[in-house]
């Protein structure tokens, strides 16, 4: 079937098998390998992307379901000149990653969460990221990074 998906602002039309998962489409058809596959069973959140601005696990969405929708992946977060998104900067400054495998999904989940909760408490951040697993950091610095990204830009240190 034909799908037209706008990814990071760029619409493209491709022929795909009906059973193509969104994550496969992003990685294999669009060549955007920043979105990782971890569990492949909707548990770990590594494959999280934004669909019309909201976090979804792209291993559990069909490319057909994303047809005519807008997807943002980790590649779409930095500005055109390479300046990192404030959430990415906060992850760097607060050491919110070690191996980095969970990071693209964490950043996308955090982006959606902060849209819905602009001034979250620490407990809200922890609950808001419950769909994303990290085997390295113990979460503490991820939570600090998201809290920092929530503050007004001049407060992000």
């Amino acid at each position: 079937m034909q799908v037209t998906v706008t990814v990071n602002g760029v619409p493209e039309t491709h022929d795909v098998e009906t059973r193509t998962l969104l994550v496969q489409y992003l990685r294999e058809v669009r060549g955007l390998t920043g979105t990782n596959i971890g569990c492949d069973t909707t548990s770990c959140g590594a494959c999280t992307v934004l669909m019309d601005g909201e976090s979804v696990k792209s291993c559990t969405v069909l490319a057909a379901q994303a047809d005519a929708h807008e997807i943002i992946t980790i590649e779409g977060m930095a500005a055109a000149d390479g300046t990192m998104h404030p959430i990415q900067q906060a992850f760097q400054e607060h050491h919110g990653l070690q191996c980095g495998y969970c990071t693209p999904g964490m950043v996308m989940a955090a982006a959606s969460f902060l849209q819905e909760h602009p001034q979250p408490s620490e407990a809200e951040v922890r609950e808001g990221l419950e769909g994303n697993l990290c085997r390295c950091t113990g979460y503490h610095n991820i939570v600090q990074a998201v809290l920092a990204a929530a503050s007004p830009p001049e407060a992000v240190r």
Binding site: T18, T41, T42, K57, S112
Partner: protein, 275 residues
């Protein structure tokens, strides 16, 4: 993991979905949010020949105040139910439970219709609707029928929905009755090992998650409450007549004990207004 091949059709209306279903009811599955069906298809535990995507049908996502009840469109996503002002003020139990399902990503995709139609005894929303005494509006080849939730859950992943029918609306009565919800799990994001949705007042109803092959009512607790028993005394009867599963998370005996604790907490929450 990739699902087996299937033919993908998109329905623009309920009538179109029903017409597509009618062509091969047993080989066809409706696709709403896909968050129960796609995981099963990826594991090849479900291999429908045709998927009818109902996710784009307009006008089936709403939470409406309809006088004595609240009407919820079958395609309403958990996130929209959780944040709906009407649900939060008129059926706070339902809004609260919608916010306890899975994780934010799951709540951005899953729908209440899919959750009920799937008929999984481990799901939270079926218990909430059962406790609230809801009515399900079902459309099929013969027109529209209303199914009381008490007759909807028939067995494991089995409901009163025929293979050629579609659930379109869920109705739950309004009322100022107290409510409580308890969900016990060991890890964030997990399904309930046991869950309880309780509504107290003149017609107390208590529904249980993961205490049998379907979502069930705790009849003994309800009888005791109606006879004026305290939450603790009523809760002691929570496992009466129930034979919950034994699995990696908990044994049958563990669940039979846990349910008495959770029902007591849910009833205490309901009577003190804590939820």
């Amino acid at each position: 993991m990739i699902p087996a091949s299937f033919e993908y059709r998109r329905a623009g209306s309920v009538d179109e979905a029903l017409a597509l279903l009618r062509q091969d009811p047993d080989g066809t599955k409706l696709l709403a949010g896909g968050h129960s069906l796609l995981p099963l298809m990826k594991l090849r535990l479900a291999t429908p020949g045709v998927l009818v995507d109902v996710g784009r049908i307009g006008g089936l996502s709403y939470v409406r105040d309809a006088g004595d009840h609240v009407a919820i469109g079958a395609l309403t996503r958990h996130r929209d139910l959780e944040t709906s002002d009407v649900a939060r003020s008129e059926v706070p139990l339902l809004a609260h439970v919608a916010g306890q399902v899975g994780d934010p990503q799951v709540r951005h995709r899953g729908t209440i219709g899919g959750s009920l139609a799937h008929g999984d005894p481990a799901s939270d929303l079926p218990a909430a609707v059962l406790a609230l005494g809801g009515t399900l509006v079902v459309q099929g080849p013969g027109g529209t029928r209303e199914v009381p939730v008490d007759g909807f859950f028939l067995g494991f992943l089995e409901t009163a929905l025929g293979p050629d029918e579609m659930l379109t609306e869920i109705r739950v009565r309004k009322g100022a009755a107290g409510w409580g919800f308890q969900k016990f799990n060991r890890r964030a994001q997990d399904w309930a090992i046991v869950g309880v949705a309780a509504v107290v007042g003149s017609d107390p109803r208590v529904a249980l998650v993961n205490m049998g092959s379907t979502t069930v009512r705790a009849r003994g607790v309800e009888e005791a409450l109606a006879a004026g028993a305290s939450p603790a005394d009523a809760a002691a009867r929570a496992a009466e007549g129930l034979d919950p599963p034994s699995d990696l998370n908990a044994s049958t005996e563990y669940r039979q004990h846990l349910v008495t604790v959770l029902v007591r907490r849910a009833l205490e929450g309901a009577t003190t207004g804590r939820g």
